[in-house]
Assembly symmetry: C2
Homo-oligomer: 400 residues x 2
Amino acid sequence: MWRELRPIGRHPESGGYRRFAWTGADAECRDWFEAQASARGLTYEVDRNGNQWAWLGDPVEGDAVVTGSHLDSVPDGGAFDGPLGVVSSFAALDELRARGARLDKPVGVVNFGDEEGARFGLACVGSRLSAGRLTVEEAWRLTDGDGVTLPQAMEAAGYDPEGIGADPERLARIGAFVELHVEQGRALGLSGDAVGIASAIWPHGRWRFDFRGEANHAGTTRLVDRRDPMLSYAETVLAARREARLAGAVATFGKISVEPNGVNAVPSLVRGWLDSRAEDQETLDVVVAAIEEAARDHARAGGVELDVVRESFTPVVEFEHALRDEIARILGREADLKVPVLGTGAGHDAGILSGRVPTAMLFVRNPTGVSHSPAEHAAEDDCLAGVTALADVLEGLARR
Amino acid sequence: MWRELRPIGRHPESGGYRRFAWTGADAECRDWFEAQASARGLTYEVDRNGNQWAWLGDPVEGDAVVTGSHLDSVPDGGAFDGPLGVVSSFAALDELRARGARLDKPVGVVNFGDEEGARFGLACVGSRLSAGRLTVEEAWRLTDGDGVTLPQAMEAAGYDPEGIGADPERLARIGAFVELHVEQGRALGLSGDAVGIASAIWPHGRWRFDFRGEANHAGTTRLVDRRDPMLSYAETVLAARREARLAGAVATFGKISVEPNGVNAVPSLVRGWLDSRAEDQETLDVVVAAIEEAARDHARAGGVELDVVRESFTPVVEFEHALRDEIARILGREADLKVPVLGTGAGHDAGILSGRVPTAMLFVRNPTGVSHSPAEHAAEDDCLAGVTALADVLEGLARR
C-alpha cells in the first residue's frame, strides 16, 4: 500500500508532500483509497462533504466501529501524518481477516477531506462540516490563495458542492471512532513505548496579526521618517517565544505575508499568523493576551497600526474516558494508565468528532518528534505494532 | 501626457503601480513612449537591450544631449518614480520648441527598460546591459518568481533576446546624459528648493540571508526541541535597524520568503533580503558586517544554519564634477553649489551610465519624501519648475 501512495504529491526537490485539498495530488490519493476499498470488497461511498468511507458490513445497522484519518498534507509535510492512520486501518482489516476475527458490528475506514487546511486556511473542513461545526455559509466563503473558493475547487474536482453540510444521519451510525496517528511530539520516544493512547487535545487557535506601516523607498527614507511594520513584527515574534516559554505553552509564527515584498521597499503591510496552544484554556488566554499586548506596545512605538483577528479556535478536547479506558483494557494497559496516555498539541478530525461520537486516538512513536516536515519518521516495527494494536482495538470494540 | 499614462498598470485596490518589465502594463507604457515620439516627429528606435530612444536631430553626429528615465515600477509603486523623468523630457522638448531654442547638437529622450528590477531581482537591467555592466550570460540566467527567464519574457513581449549585450556604439553618441527624477527623500523639502542637482549616489547593495532550521509541527514540538529560523530572522531584523542607526546609514528587511509558510508549521527556511546603503563604502562595510555577525550569533544560539549571499552591489557614484558645475551655472546656482546639490540613497540608470558617459541628475522636490508607495507625490508647480530647469539645461548643453 505504501509503495503506491508514496510518490503522490511528493515534491522532487524538498522531498516533502504537497497534497492539498481538491488538487490533482489529492485526487490521486482519493483514487488510491477507493482502489484499496475495492480490492478488499468493502462497500465504498463518498459523503456529501467529500469524505470517503469503506465499510465491512452494513453501516446502516448502527453502532459501527470506525477508524481512519486523512490523506492530505501541510506544505512539504511528511509521509506519515494522516496516511499512517489510513494505511494502518486497511492493514488492521487485513490482519483481522487473517485472524478470522469475529466482528459483530460493522467496521468502517474513513478518509476525512482537507484535514490540514493547507489550502483554505481552516483545518478539518471535512469533519467540521459533517459534525455541523462549520456552517455551509462559512464553508462557501473559504477561499484559497489564488482566489478559488471551496465550492469552486470541489466542483473542479468533480464533486457537487451544493450538498455540503451537517450529516447527523451518517455520524449516528458510528458507535466509536478510533483514529491512529503518528505522534507529533517525543512523549513516546521518551517513555519507550511504541504505541500510546491520547488523553486530550490541547486548546488551540490561530490569530492573524496585521501590522500596517507606510511603504517607502529603502534607500532614501531616513530611519526616523519610517513607519516600518517589519520591526513591530520582529519584536512580536520574539515576544511570542518568551511568553510561551514562561507559561509552558507553545507559540509559533510560521506564516507571513508582506506587501509590497520588494527588496528596496519598506513594507506597507506585514501580516503574521500566530499559532498558540496550551494545556488549558486559562494558560492559553494569558499567553495570547501577553503576546498581543507586546505587539501593541511595539506597534505604537513604531507608528504602526495593528489589527489582531482570531481566525480559528478549538477548545480543549477530553477524549471520552469510558472509551479510552476500554481501549486501555483491550491493550492490556489497565495497570499503568498514566503512561502512555498523553495529551497532544495537535488538532485532529477525532477532536472535531468528539462530543458528537465517542472518540479515541492511538499514537505511534515518532523517535525525533519531527512532524510537518519531510524528515517526519516512524520505524517500521512501530508502525506494525500500531497496526496490531489497532486490530486488537477494532476486534475488541466490534464484539457485542 | 499624464492622463494617458496614469491608468496603466495601476492596481485598483492599492492605487499603486505594478509595471513590471516585459509585462502587459510595461508594453502599454512602451506604446505610450512610441506614440509621444511619433506625435513630435522624433526619430524612434529600440536598441538591442529593449531601451527606447526618441531623437531630435541625427544622433549619429555624436556629442548628443540625452535625457530620460524609466517607466517601470516597483510593486505598488508611485506615479512619479521614473515616469516624471520621461514625461518631463518630452515636456522640455515642447518648451524648447515653443521658445524657438537653438539646438546645435542632437537631443534624445530615453526610456531604460527594467530599472526597478521588480521582476527579475536585479535593478537597471537595460542600462547595465548597454553599459556592459551585466554580462549576456548573467542576463540569460535572470529568472522571475514564476521561473520565466529574462530572454523568455523578452521574447513573449515580441523582442529578440539574441541581440542583448554591451552597446558601446550607441553610448558613444552621447555627450551628456541628464536624468530628472522625483526626489526620494526630504532634502529639498527641508531646504525649500523645488529642484536640486545630485552630487553622488550612495554605495548600496542587497544581501540574501538564508536561515535554515527544521520544519516541525507547531502544536506538538516542545520549544526546546525546535530549530526555528523565524526567531533568528526576527533578531536580525532588529539588529539591522540598530546598526544602521548607530552608523547614520540605512538598512531594511523588506522582502521575505518562508518555507513551508504554514500557520501550524515551524518554518524550515526563512529567507530575508537586506538592502543597505551608506554615504561611503567604509561605513556600509561596517554596518553590513555587524548585521551579519549578529545574525550568525543568533542563528548559532538557535541551532539554525545561516548563509549570506551578496546579490548585488553598486559602489559610490560621484557624478562628473564638470557637468555638474556646468548645470549649476546654467541654472544660475554657482554662488551656492552645496545646496541644493545632494547625495541620494537610490540607484538610477544615471548611476549605471556614469563612468561610461558624463552624467548628471536633477531632482524635483518630494514634500513628504515618500517613495515606492502609492502616496509618492510631487506638487504640480514643482513638476513644472523641473520641466523648465530641464529645458534650460538641455538648451545650455546643446549649444556649441
